[in-house]
Amino acid sequence: MMQFMTVFKREMLEAGRNFKWIWVPLVFILLGITDPISTYYMPQIIESVGGLPEGATFEIPTPPPHDVLMMSLAQYSQLGVLVVALMSMGLISGERKSGVAELVLVKPVKYSTYVTAKWGAVNVLVLVSFFAGMLASWYYVNLLFGDVSFIHLLWTWFFYGLWLLFVISISVFMNTLFKVPGLVGFLTILFVIITSIITNIFSHVLDWSPAKLSGYIRTMLSEGSIPADLWGTALVTIGISTALLIAAIYTFRTKEMA
C-alpha cells in the first residue's frame, strides 16, 4: 500500500508538471458546455449563416433538458474517449521506450503495484475532469433549458464514468502489450470501436455490453428511475475492466520489459 501511494503520487506529480491537471479538466469542460450553448443559439446561428429563402420560417423545438445533457455525453463518447486514449497512450509504453520503467522496477516495486498505481492515477484525473465537465454542462442545461436534478447528474457521472474507466483499462492493457505509444493509442480506439460495433450487431443478445451504458443512462434520465439493466451493465463493465487490468499485470510481468 505504501508502495502504491508512492508510485501514485509520482504519477500525480508528473501529471501536474505536464499541465495535464490543467488541460484535461478544461477540455472536458469545453466539451460539456459547447452543446448546451450551441443548441440554445441554434436559431440565431441558422439565421446568421443564411441560405434560407425569403420568408421561410420553421420552428425548432426546444429539446427537453435531459436530451441536452445527453448531447454533452455524446461529445464525451467521441472526443472525450479520443482525448483519454491519446493522453494515456504513453503511460507505460513511453516509459518502457525511454527506460524510465526499468529505473522504477529495479527498485523493489511490484509489477502489479506499478500498473495499478498508474491506472489509478489516470482514473482520478479523468474522472475528476469528467465531473467538472458534467457539472459545467448541468449548470448550463439548468440555466438555459430547465431542471435536471443533481442526483441524476451524479448517477450519470457514476455510470458514464464506468465507461471511461473501461477505456482506460483497455489503454493500460494495450500499454503493456506494445511499446510504441502511437500504436497503443490506435489499438485502444480500435478496441472501443469494435466493442460498439459488436454490441450493435448482437444487440439482442448482449444486453449488458459496456457500449450500452449511454443508452441506459438516457432511459434513466427520461424515466427518472434507474433501469435494472443499467446495474447489470455497470457490473459487466467493472468485471471486464478488472479482467483487463489483471491481464495487463500478467502480460507486463511475462514480457520482462522486452
Binding site: N18, K20, W23, L30, I37, Y41, Q44, V83, L144
Partner: protein, 67 residues
C-alpha cells in the same frame, strides 16, 4: 450581423472564451519551456496561435513528446 451580436448574452459565452484563452496561454508557456516537440517546434507555435480551441488541445495531445 450586428443584431446577432446584440442578441447573444455574453455572460453565457464568456466561459468558453476564457477556457480557450487559458488553454492557449498554458500551451504557449509549455511551448517555451519544452526543448523538443513532435515535429518542428515552430510549426506548433502557429498551430497553438492560429487554430482556435483545437490548436492548444492538439499540441498537448500530439505535440508534446510522449517519452
Amino acid at each position: 450581423m450586428t443584431e446577432v451580436f446584440e442578441t447573444i448574452n455574453w455572460a453565457l459565452v464568456a466561459p468558453l472564451l476564457v477556457i480557450q484563452l487559458i488553454l492557449q496561454v498554458v500551451a504557449l508557456i509549455d511551448w517555451f519551456r519544452i526543448e523538443h516537440t513532435n515535429g518542428p517546434k515552430i510549426m506548433w507555435l502557429f498551430i497553438i496561435l492560429l487554430l482556435n480551441m483545437i490548436g492548444p488541445i492538439l499540441y498537448f495531445v500530439i505535440g508534446r513528446r510522449q517519452d
